[in-house]
């Protein structure tokens, strides 16, 4: 996740969501979209408004430390977490951006690591003992990184284009970007370059924008997306 890309409040909200999500995750490893609507548990107020507790509810401070929501007494932790998650998502429609990005611009899923769950050597060890949870964490985080790249790749605004041009206009699904062929001599630059140099050349020329910081979050995300799209391709540096 590229924190610097995400502006203050949204960033805070995402931290919040992640904490809530983690609660749900620990309780049952359930995806938020699968959680049942719990009318009774639905908090009665929007986050952000101060509320007064009644006899049947308790006040729960949300994780920003400022807002309070009311929750029915006697709820299980799971139901409470689900409900909070649910409500939070309704208040933050953009929080689903990874899912939405994936729906809009389909990209390849990260590699399947389930083979790591087999075998006996790791059992009971600290190191090398992988669980389902590890695999899910890796996959989700990898996907999020790639989704962030996809978002930038598809947005002239994010790229800072002065002519409203984005990468996907010429490279749908990152076609013809050939990340597996670097390093190689690129005539446009008159020297041997890495993938990021060629990305920046396209940023400056076809897209006509200021070059990106080669180590900055946007460049890293773009690289992630472009490489992810060539999953399974043989590395072949110097190929033209």
């Amino acid at each position: 996740m590229n924190w610097t890309l995400i502006r203050g409040s949204a960033r805070r909200a995402i931290v919040c969501a992640m904490l809530l999500f983690w609660a749900a995750f620990l309780a049952g490893c359930k995806h938020p979209s699968e959680t049942a609507e719990l009318d009774a548990a639905d908090p009665q107020s929007d986050a952000g408004k101060e509320t007064v507790a009644t006899a049947d509810t308790v006040d729960v401070k949300s994780c920003d430390g400022e807002n309070t929501v009311q929750v029915a007494k006697g709820l299980t932790g799971q139901a409470m977490a689900d409900a909070l998650m649910d409500q939070w998502q309704r208040n933050h429609p953009e929080a689903n951006w990874v899912t939405e990005e994936k729906e809009k611009h389909v990209f390849l899923p990260p590699a399947d690591n389930s083979a790591l769950l087999q075998g006996d050597q790791g059992k009971g060890h600290v190191y090398g003992n992988f669980t389902e949870r590890d695999l899910i964490t890796w996959a989700r985080e990898a996907e999020k990184f790639v989704a962030e790249g996809s978002r930038i790749f598809h947005s002239g605004d994010e790229l800072g284009s002065q002519i409203a041009v984005s990468c996907d206009m010429c490279h749908p699904h990152a076609a013809n970007t050939h990340p597996e062929t670097y390093p190689k001599y690129q005539v446009q630059l008159g020297r041997v370059v890495l993938l990021r140099d060629m990305i920046n050349w396209c940023v400056e020329n076809p897209v006509r924008a200021e070059p990106l910081d080669p180590n900055g979050p946007k460049m890293r995300a773009l690289e992630a997306y472009i490489m992810a799209q060539r999953k399974g391709t043989v590395m072949e540096y110097g190929k033209h």
Partner: protein, 372 residues
């Protein structure tokens, strides 16, 4: 002070001398010189590299029912000029090109996607530039022209998107093949969001292109009076077959449309949208793509028609590389030579002989930088 002519200057001086020499030669020797030069470069250049843009063969205008030629320009994707000068320049260059054709083509066909985001100012700018064409204009709609206001402005400027006309014994049909099922209402999209969705080639929220039942019915009626051996050219924005769905290189009701065209001896379909050399044949129907004036597209990773000889991957240093315009030379039998006038490259002809022979005769030059 002393001047020090560079090697290149010297080189140019010698060249100049050579030219002077050539000028003083009598004709025969001159031709020999040229022929030698030609022969010597044949090993380097493509065998077809001398294919001129105005191929005269079979295209003499000898009255109606005979051969003729028209030019095409397509997929300019204009923004307003102060938003993006490059795409405007592309269309200007194409108009300049076509205006330079001598003799002038019978008409110029515009293949759709004049605008990038269907905005009034974009379409007006396009219409303004196209007014400078010397030859008459025939125009078709593309999805980029349509999905902001559902074709309102485009129709105001250019009229009905579905029509037919006859020219020198050929029946031309122009379709709106970018009809998409409503994906926007359910998602509560604004018109601009809808437009942006359709404008993204790899945006999978949109629906596949169709010609749709209404137009299919219209087409059926329009063709009714034609005999089976009529010369028939269909102009559509999307390819009227199924190539690659994720990029909408696709027409969802292609089979139904093809069924209507089945009874004819020869049908030619010329389509925009794909921004590349693209050739296909399904039975009696010969399909040709056209070039964009804005940018070229990569080839679909799967489903490529066997007849297609790809164009080389372009060099992005030259934003015009892989772009261009072209011509269509219509033969007396209704089949066509399709000329791709690639800017700063040698033009490529995909001839009637090539499609008619199923790819064995007159094979166009193969790319030296194929896609991978």
């Amino acid at each position: 002070m002393a001047t020090h002519p560079s090697v290149e200057t010297k080189y140019m001086e010698e060249r100049r001398e050579l030219f002077h020499g050539i000028r003083n030669l009598e004709r025969r020797s001159f031709l020999k010189v040229s022929a030698a030069a030609l022969g010597a470069s044949a090993g380097l250049a493509y065998p077809h590299s001398f294919t001129p843009v105005s191929v005269a063969q079979g295209a003499e205008d000898t009255g109606s029912d005979q051969a003729f030629r028209f030019a095409y320009v397509s997929d300019s994707h204009l923004y307003e000029k102060d938003v993006n000068d490059r795409f405007v320049r592309g269309l200007l260059r194409a108009v300049d090109d076509v205006n330079n054709l001598d003799p002038q083509p019978d008409f110029v066909f515009y293949g759709g996607d004049l605008a990038q985001l269907g905005q009034e100012k974009e379409l007006e700018l396009g219409a303004q530039i196209l007014k400078n064409l010397k030859a008459p204009l025939r125009i078709m709609v593309g999805e980029h022209d349509w999905y902001l206001d559902m074709g309102q402005k485009w129709q105001e400027l250019f009229g009905d998107p579905t029509y037919s006309f006859d020219h020198k014994g050929v029946h031309f049909v122009v379709l709106n093949s970018v009809v998409e099922a409503d994906f926007w209402t359910e998602r509560n999209m604004t018109p601009m969001e809808r437009m942006m969705t359709v404008a993204g080639l790899d945006n999978s929220l949109q629906s596949p292109f169709t010609v749709g039942q209404t137009q299919r019915k219209w087409l059926q009626d329009d063709l009714e009076k034609l005999s089976d051996d009529a010369r028939l050219i269909i102009l559509s924005h999307s390819p009227l077959y199924k190539l690659y769905k994720p990029w909408n290189f696709w027409t969802d009701d292609a089979e139904e449309v093809q069924a209507i065209l089945n009874r004819f001896k020869n049908v030619v379909v010329i389509h925009g949208h794909t921004h590349q050399l693209l050739t296909n044949r399904i039975g009696n129907i010969h399909f040709h793509g056209v070039l964009s004036t804005a940018w070229p597209w990569p080839y679909a990773p799967e489903g490529m028609p066997e007849l297609t000889i790809e164009m080389s991957r372009p060099d992005p240093f030259n934003p015009n590389d892989g772009c261009g315009d072209g011509e269509v030379h219509v033969h007396p039998d209704g089949l066509v030579d399709k000329i791709y006038n690639l800017w700063n490259r040698n033009p490529v002809s995909v001839t009637a002989a090539y499609t008619a022979s199923g790819g064995s005769d007159s094979v166009p030059p193969k790319p030296n930088r194929p896609s991978y």
